[in-house]
Amino acid sequence: MILEDSLSQSSLNADFKLIDRDLIADLWHSRFGMPPDAFQSFSFYRKARMIWMFSEAMLPPFRLETAGLRIMSMRKGPWKPTTYALQLLGRYATKNVVSLDEDGARMFIAGGTFEIEADLEEGYVIATFEGQVLGCALYSRGRLISQLPKERRRPDDP
């Protein structure tokens, strides 16, 4: 019975591969200074380029469309955190966080690119407004490029 279940599970969702939590925690620690504790109660799966964060180490034995949240994509260059992961976990970050003023927040939400003076490393950063996480931005040569998913953007009309 148990054997049968684990067999059907592995063939059902073979495209979701369990990966080591420490590996993920290390990546987020080195980029955002997050404590490994932030990831303690979750398990991580890789499917194609995306990493999914799910509450349980065992996936339920059904054909799954999703397993929790997509938190990052692995690519040739640096890995990219998703806006939704940052909105959930970003409050634990201690570096590469940029606090936007009202104008900055508006431009970020419009999906814009703008100059900014901030103490950031090049690459993906966490954009916040009044202490709350807005989402992911790319910092490059003094400019901030909003990475807010298209479906969340709103045109900039002040």
Binding site: M53, G68, L88
Partner: protein, 295 residues
């Protein structure tokens, strides 16, 4: 509205009901405790000088005055979710706990799924099922925006959901939607007895499958946003030999009892344990909610 005349006998204060039906539905949001706290969220609304009122019966629910919630920055940050007040009832009755295995059998677009996820504190397993590919897009989008990390989405016909043992199952069934007519009166044009009887077959099959999939002693909540007894009491009746009915009564919300008979069918007095929520009682949409324990 003529269609609703068939309920003149069963809906208390029918003229007040009719009056309420033509009033606009209040705009409500649920605060997402996975990402913020009620105090933080309200102080942000205060700072923006937005007008709102807390629901008396549910600490995560707010009524907004003259605000389109989809336009608020709190919406894109996933701190709030627009959700009709009475739609917040079934998850409360389901009472899911962190660490449990829970199934939301008819889940899209995920208002109740994400409410259940927050009640479970992103812990345990919440399977959110819906067969409609189009509607699953909205379900997935809401789960992502609200940060639900314990949700696994599946796409089965709920009548044939694979065998498993869940602690709790919500069956928020497809229905004729009469209770949402306050938002959109044209809903009623499509309502008739024949359609309700067709839906009843689907609803009975869905609820029957949910009982199969629940562990002994586990909880099943059956809900619809319609008044038609054919889609409510008559559906609950079809599983009565396999479950016990539990009284549904939420402090702070006025409810009418489920019907003991309708149109020549006798459901019995026990059916009074189900709850009917009417627009003129709490100024909400309409809902039917039954709570069942598997024997």
């Amino acid at each position: 509205m003529d269609h609703l005349d068939r309920y003149r006998r069963i809906i208390p204060d029918y003229p007040l009901f009719c009056e309420a039906m033509i009033q606009p539905l209040p705009v409500c949001v649920r605060i997402n405790s996975l990402k913020t706290s009620a105090d933080d969220l309200m102080s942000r609304l205060d700072k923006a000088r937005l007008s709102y009122r807390r629901l008396g019966w549910y600490r995560w629910g707010l009524r907004l005055n003259g605000i389109r919630p989809g336009l608020l920055i709190e919406h894109l940050m996933g701190h709030i979710h627009p959700q009709e007040e009475s739609s917040m009832i079934p998850p409360l009755v389901l009472d899911p706990q962190p660490g449990e295995k829970v199934l939301d059998l008819c889940a899209s677009p995920g208002s109740k799924t994400t409410q259940i996820a927050q009640m479970m504190e992103n812990d345990g397993i919440l399977v959110a099922n819906d067969p409609s590919p189009g509607r699953i897009v909205a379900l997935r989008a809401n789960c992502e925006r609200l940060g639900a990390a314990n949700v696994a989405v599946t796409r089965y016909d709920g009548r044939a959901f694979p065998r498993y043992e869940f602690d709790r199952i919500l069956v928020d069934a497809p229905c004729s939607g009469e209770g949402m007519a306050r938002k959109d009166l044209t809903v009623l044009k499509r309502c008739n007895l024949k359609r309700s009887m067709g839906l009843q077959r689907l609803q009975q099959a869905l609820l029957g499958r949910a009982v199969d999939l629940t562990r002994q002693g586990g909880v099943i909540v059956y809900s619809t946003c319609t008044y038609a007894p054919e889609e409510n009491e008559a559906v609950v009746e079809s599983v009565l030999d396999r479950v016990r009915l539990i009284d549904v009564d939420i402090p702070g919300l006025a409810r009418s009892r489920g019907l003991d008979a309708w149109d020549g069918n006798i459901f019995g007095e026990l059916m009074g344990r189900c709850a009917r929520y009417y627009p003129h009682h709490n100024d909400t949409g309409g809902f039917f909610v039954a709570k069942l324990i598997k024997r």
